[in-house]
């Protein structure tokens, strides 16, 4: 016979053993080296004839019996981090030795994103893990075809971060994401750093994929994405904003227009510079101004029963350089006042130009429609209600921009 103590001992042990079995969550155990950690994805449309035929032969997710959606075949290219080769610090230790690439690049094709990802998994030993996916680049051709399928795929995934970047490339997306610059050994991380730092320097609005989804859902607003171009030195330029209308890319802006866009929306941390003619533009008498702060007060008014947007844009900036050294000087504040007037004129033109561009694209990237929806719900319910009807109305929307530029500093030079 066991004593009471022994019974208690056995019972405790049984409970502990049970807990070990139940609480450890064995089903979902996945060691880190058994995961294929994808850092970046590029999506292009498959163009060559062989590409298309090969995809039809492979039949990973579709068969001749069932058929497949009649969508253009896409080609995805994934950057997979190789365990142990991702550099952890600035030194060589723990990182890759020369010649060993820290990432592995794999391509796959399919009609949809999920089909292509499945095709990728079919040729990969480790389970694909998207929790560290930081950047997705799609080609302009793909974006103009519509991002509906990509967004549906991303939204259903549980691991995807809302702070991952989605960007559009002018040429092939694959080239952009695999461009290997000298500063960073992991191409996808370089691209990520590039976009993040652009945001810090006020050169790009912080619009990662989560914000893109929000703007895409909003009825009175259209999404934008960074527009990237590959340059000669295997480097990438932020070449403007890709403008969308309901999932489909409809155009792109110039880099300076990013500044105009950020001014209208009052996104602080200004980072763009621009020339202003000061005395005589024919004599090349310009100054280069740099905006450092932006703040905008947007108002909605009604004129003759139609909505009208009045945006008061307050900007602060510094004088950075003059085209000539001494022919015109800034030695007292009245000269600055004079300069501010000229800046206001120049910038108003620049902003109105961007607005006209977006009106032509019928894409309200500034979100003026949200003001109408929020502040004039009655008008919205009667006359707008839907995203497409707002696009039509935006085309002829009355917009008034008042720019109030303040020159604060002139640098270390005294005149």
């Amino acid at each position: 016979m066991l004593t009471r103590e022994e019974v208690r001992c056995v019972r405790t042990f049984a409970v502990l053993a049970g807990m070990v079995l139940l609480l450890s969550g064995c089903w979902d155990r996945l060691e880190i080296e058994d995961r294929a950690v994808i850092l970046g994805i590029a999506i292009d449309l498959a163009e060559s004839k062989e590409d298309l035929e090969e995809e039809m032969k492979e039949q990973i997710n579709h068969s001749n019996a069932i058929g497949a959606p009649d969508m253009p075949v896409i080609k995805i290219s994934a950057q997979i981090a190789v365990p142990g080769r991702i550099p952890l610090g600035p030194g060589e230790s723990g990182g890759a030795t020369v010649g060993e690439k820290p990432v592995w690049i794999l391509n796959a094709k399919g009609h949809t994103v999920e089909e292509a990802m499945n095709a990728l998994q079919q040729e990969l030993a480790d389970q694909i893990f998207l929790g560290h996916l930081r950047i997705i680049v799609v080609s302009e051709k793909y974006a103009r075809n519509g991002l509906g399928n990509l967004n549906d795929y991303m939204r259903r995934q549980t691991d995807i971060r809302r702070t991952a970047w989605l960007a559009v490339s002018k040429g092939k997306a694959t080239d952009i994401i695999h461009s290997s610059p000298q500063l960073e050994r992991v191409p996808a991380l370089y691209l990520l750093a590039m976009l993040d730092h652009s945001v810090d320097m006020g050169k790009l609005p912080n619009e990662p994929i989560g914000r893109y989804w929000i703007r895409n859902s909003n009825l009175g607003q259209e999404p934008i994405l960074p527009y990237l171009v590959l340059k000669q030195q295997e480097n990438v330029q932020v070449a403007g904003l890709a403008v969308f209308r309901k999932d489909k890319m409809v155009g792109a802006t110039t880099p300076l227009q990013i500044g105009a866009y950020m001014a209208v929306n009052g996104i602080s941390e200004g980072g763009y510079s621009f020339f202003v003619p000061v005395v005589n533009s024919s004599k090349n008498q310009y100054v280069l101004m740099r905006t450092v702060n932006r703040d905008t007060d947007t108002r909605l008014v009604f004129a003759d029963g139609r909505p009208k947007i009045i945006a008061n844009v307050s900007l602060e900036g510094n004088l950075r350089e003059k085209t000539e050294s001494d022919s015109y000087n800034f030695s007292d504040s009245s000269a600055i006042k004079e300069l501010e007037k000229k800046i206001n004129e120049a910038l108003t033109q620049e902003v109105m130009h961007l607005i006209a561009d977006t009106k032509r694209m019928k894409a309200d990237i500034f979100g003026f429609g949200e003001y109408v929806r929020a502040l004039a719900p009655k008008y919205w319910k009667e006359h707008v209600r839907s995203n497409s009807r707002w696009s039509e109305q935006y085309h002829s929307l009355d917009i008034e921009i008042h720019i109030n530029y303040k020159v604060r500093r002139v640098g270390m030079k005294a005149k």
């Binding site: 139940l22 979902d28 549980t158 971060r161 989804w213 859902s217 909003n218 949200e370 719900p377």
Partner: protein
């Protein structure tokens, strides 16, 4: 059996029990339900739901004080007669059993879709039910302690996440404050159902040290829980906008995902949020289970509640496994919500009215 000493509850314990019971599984999907019903008016809709719940809560407290020392299971017979009360009691018990099962199932569904994708849903559900069952075997003292202990653990992190998320907020998304869609009424019922945990108070009032404090604790309990729900709906709509919320199955979880601790300490807070949420689910499940077994005990007049605990477990498991897919589950939960509205809000109001008209009240020395 040794003599049981009388357990008494303080006002704070009572409020804590209400808070952690009301905050439950539904905090994850509820912004979706609210926005589906009222668009940008989701906050107002939530406020209305709290108002409706308040009517139920006040009636239950009034009844509890009118019949000192008794719960709704016991004084029902005095107000509407034995046969009708038996019906009501049976309905209440069945309702609480179904409620417990559905909460466990909803919990399992969230876990299997977002965190443990390989783990069979049965495993998650049965573990949650088992923990609730083991806890429900304990007495009132343990019940109160567990709730008091977990309430701040639930409140603090959720408050932190909500406050941090406001850095991404866009006030324009909250306007217009009044808005509605054709489904506003069914949405209102679903949202009201999230607060029906307050009903546990009927079981607890007889055990309060000072029964008159039931008003204060009841109101502050519902107030704190309601304020938290309001904060969640406001921040979710302010960050995402109503149209985006309609796209998200679990908007609150998505909010945690989009929120980061400053200075890159944590880039996404969904993992932290899920672990807090598990605690919130446990306390809610625990309360519902506790209510079911104690209601059974009081109704059948047995001396001990413990024999019902493991007797109910297989039924709970069975009911939890009934829905075939996630959409069917939410349809079922919407149905349960309607039943809950009748049982936890309409019934107490009616009982109170009848008790007042017929001049029924409990014996003053029953306690």
């Amino acid at each position: 059996m040794r003599l049981r000493e009388e357990t008494t509850l303080s006002g704070i314990e009572m409020a804590a029990i209400l808070i952690s019971t009301v905050i439950g599984v539904a905090i994850l999907p509820f912004p979706l339900f609210a926005v589906r019903g009222a668009g940008t008016g989701a906050g107002m809709l939530t406020l209305m739901a709290i108002g409706i719940t308040l009517i139920g809560l006040l009636s239950v407290i009034a009844l509890g004080l009118r019949f000192p020392g008794q719960s709704i299971i016991q004084y029902g017979a005095q107000i509407i007669g034995r046969p009708a009360a038996a019906m009501l009691n049976a309905l209440l018990i069945v309702f609480y059993i179904v409620l417990t099962a559905s909460a466990a199932r909803e919990f399992g569904t969230v876990v299997v879709t977002s965190v443990l994708k390989q783990t069979p849903i049965e495993a998650t559900v049965i573990i949650m039910l088992l923990i609730a069952a083991i806890s429900a075997r304990k007495d009132l003292r343990t019940f109160a302690n567990i709730h008091l202990f977990y309430t701040p653990i639930i409140l603090m992190p959720v408050l932190l996440i909500v406050c941090l998320s406001f850095q991404n907020a866009e006030p324009l998304y909250l306007l217009p404050i009044f808005d509605h869609t054709p489904q506003i009424l069914s949405s209102l019922l679903t949202i009201t159902a999230m607060f029906q945990g307050f009903f546990i108070i009927t079981l607890l009032i007889p055990h309060m040290r000072q029964q008159s404090k039931a008003w204060v604790s009841g109101l502050s309990g519902l107030g704190v829980a309601g304020a938290l729900y309001l904060l969640i709906i406001t921040s979710t709509v302010a960050v995402f906008g109503a149209e985006e919320v309609k796209e998200l199955l679990y908007p609150t979880l998505e909010l945690a995902k989009a929120t980061n601790l400053p200075a890159n300490i944590m880039e996404r807070l969904d993992a932290a949020f899920i672990s807090v949420w598990v605690t919130a689910v446990f306390t809610t499940l625990f309360s519902n289970y506790y209510f079911a077994v104690h209601a059974l005990k009081q109704w059948l007049g047995t001396r001990d509640h413990r024999l019902f605990v493991f007797f109910l477990l297989p039924f709970l498991m069975l009911i939890a496994m009934l829905p075939e897919n996630v959409l069917q589950m939410y349809e079922g939960i919407a149905l349960i919500a309607r039943g809950g509205f009748v049982l936890t809000v309409l019934c107490p109001v009616l009982l109170l009215a009848i008790a007042v008209i017929r001049g029924k009240r409990g014996a003053a020395d029953a306690h």
